[in-house]
């Protein structure tokens, strides 16, 4: 049962073809891995999915509904939540506030209700805070509620962004290089954490990763991108052995 399907997505920036006729779909509950060399269009694909960029051609269907031209906040409201390759945390807030912000969609935002602080509003606020606390604890940052992002280590900020995304109660979670800049041990830990969350919240995942061996263990299916095109798609074992992939991407080191 297809949850999300992207058909024939193309995008170019001032002549640079970032995506060329890319079709990718995911099934409910599946984990899709995306790999590809730098500049192959992976992040651009996420940007289009989350509504930050508009595709030049193609369409995106979520459960059969067209969301190609839907603005980011509505896409988010439909359960597609993402993280960013270069982290986009809120610098002026504490870790806990960052995560609470992730739950914005659930919060009652009626203007008069907020001013009157009705019982419902206060209850929702307290619940939101507890949920955020739980998410923060889930990623192992329970002790850092009041820390500002500048006081956290790089690895911790990556986890914080994950917690913020989880508090958005995603159905489809898009992770853009969640383990970038980490060694294999740390990367393994993060992906284990993600796997646990996937289990608990019945998530559908799309993960961009450079660490192929780690991803191969973790994903159900892998798409390989190269120069804006989908090069290969298949089971992790097959993809890793595919000659074209080895040539385009793995080349020297991995395998």
């Amino acid at each position: 049962m297809t949850l999300l399907s992207c058909e024939g997505i193309s995008k170019s920036f001032l002549g640079v073809k970032a995506l060329v006729d890319v079709s990718i779909s995911v099934v409910e509950g599946e984990t899709l891995g995306i790999i590809g060399p730098n500049g192959s269009g992976k992040t651009t694909f996420f940007n289009i999915l989350s509504g930050l960029e508009r595709a030049d051609a193609g369409r995106i269907l979520l459960k059969g509904r067209d969301i190609t031209r839907t603005p980011p906040h509505r896409i988010s409201a439909q359960g597609i939540v993402r993280t960013f390759q270069n982290l986009r945390l809120f610098g002026g807030m504490t870790a806990l506030d960052n995560v609470i912000c992730g739950g914005h969609k659930e919060a009652p935002t009626g203007f008069l209700g907020q001013i009157a602080q009705t019982a419902r509003v206060r209850r929702a606020e307290a619940e939101g805070r507890e949920h955020a606390r739980a998410c923060l604890a889930d990623v192992g940052l329970g002790a850092y509620e009041n820390a500002f992002t500048t006081q956290l280590s790089y690895g911790q900020t990556k986890r914080l962004e994950l917690a913020r995304a989880l508090n958005g109660r995603p159905r489809i979670l898009l992770l853009d290089e969640p383990t970038a800049g980490m060694n294999d041990v740390q990367a393994g830990e993060i992906l284990e954490l993600v796997a646990a969350m996937r289990q608990r919240h019945a998530l559908t995942l799309i993960v961009i990763e450079h660490n192929v061996p780690v991803l191969a263990r973790f994903a159900d299916r892998i798409v390989v991108m190269d120069a804006g095109q989908k090069l290969v798609e298949g089971l992790p074992g097959d993809v890793v052995r595919d000659a074209r992939v080895i040539e385009a991407y793995l080349g020297t080191g991995a395998a």
């Binding site: 940007n47 930050l52 960029e53 960013f84 610098g91």
Partner: protein
């Protein structure tokens, strides 16, 4: 009809002044994404410096040149003190810092030269020139000529020289430019200096045209310069020029049709109109922030 043609030449002159001032804003914005509010105050100080030098008996040409250089110098100081330390901070912060620097300049100018409106000597004689039966003002024609020369010269400088090439690189991608060994700081300082120089030239012409120098002229020119820059497309050289000309004509038209009180409304209408209808300006393209 003749009356309208005469007004046309006034519109062209005032428009070309706006263009000169607009270039300073537009250049900085296109490279740094910063509305450099200090610019308006810098050029106001420059006009006062020219006035002061003239009062001291300096030869007019030299006085104007020195004033323009003082504008470049102050602009460089502003960059160094108020802008560079906060270059990478959240985007409103450099704007506020620039405005703070501007307010310091404004207070200093007020302490030195006082809050009154001063008249500015007519360095360019004003007499009617008859061309094909139409009386044009000599001053308007000279102003237009000076502006065109300055705009063409700077356009050449920014498009045909090594420095210009470096500036284009910094504009496209500051980090990459830095990695490639382009002296980014020098380029930015030079851009500020160029903006200050042209801006003061503009403000001196402005002072001559309206025969007035006053503390608020910088901020007054700000909205007009921006209307010009946005009309032409931010960061575009020819754009700023044509935008300025169009604004000058539109203002002149407004003055003859609805009255001079509403002259200043034109620029705001243009800014809002451009934002609503054509954010990239008439001749430009925008570059979106990367996600």
């Amino acid at each position: 009809m003749v009356y309208y043609l005469e007004q046309l030449s006034n519109g062209l002159a005032i428009g070309s002044i706006y263009a000169l001032i607009a270039l300073g804003y537009s250049l900085v914005y296109s490279i740094l994404n910063l509305i450099n509010f200090a610019h308006g105050y810098v050029i106001m100080v420059g006009a006062f410096v020219a006035l002061q030098l003239l009062a001291l008996g300096v030869h007019p040409a030299l006085a104007v040149l020195l004033a323009c250089c003082s504008g470049a110098l102050i602009a460089m100081l502003v960059e160094r003190i108020a802008y560079r330390p906060v270059r990478h901070a959240n985007r409103v912060i450099p704007m506020i810092s620039a405005l703070g620097a501007g307010l310091v300049l404004s207070a200093a100018a007020q302490l030195i030269w006082g809050p009154e409106v001063r008249s500015f000597p007519q360095l360019i004689p004003r007499f009617p020139v008859e061309i094909g039966g139409i009386n044009l003002s000599s001053q308007s024609l000279v102003i237009l000529a000076i502006s065109v020369v300055l705009v063409v010269a700077s356009s050449w400088f920014l498009h045909r020289t090594r420095f210009g090439l470096a500036a284009q690189c910094v504009r496209q991608d500051m980090v990459a430019a830095q990695l490639m060994g382009i002296p980014v700081n020098t380029v930015i300082v030079a851009i500020y200096a160029l903006g200050g120089f042209l801006g003061v030239a503009g403000s001196i012409l402005f002072a001559m045209y309206f025969n007035a120098v006053f503390i608020q002229m910088g901020l007054l020119a700000t909205t007009k310069a921006w209307a010009a820059a946005m009309l032409g497309g931010i960061g575009s050289f020819q754009g700023a020029f044509w935008g300025g000309i169009l604004l000058g004509l539109a203002e002149t038209l407004a003055v003859i049709t609805v009255g001079s009180a509403y002259r200043d409304g034109v620029s705001m209408a243009i800014i809002v109109g451009v934002l609503l209808l054509r954010p990239a300006g008439l001749f430009g393209t925008t570059i979106k922030e990367r996600s």
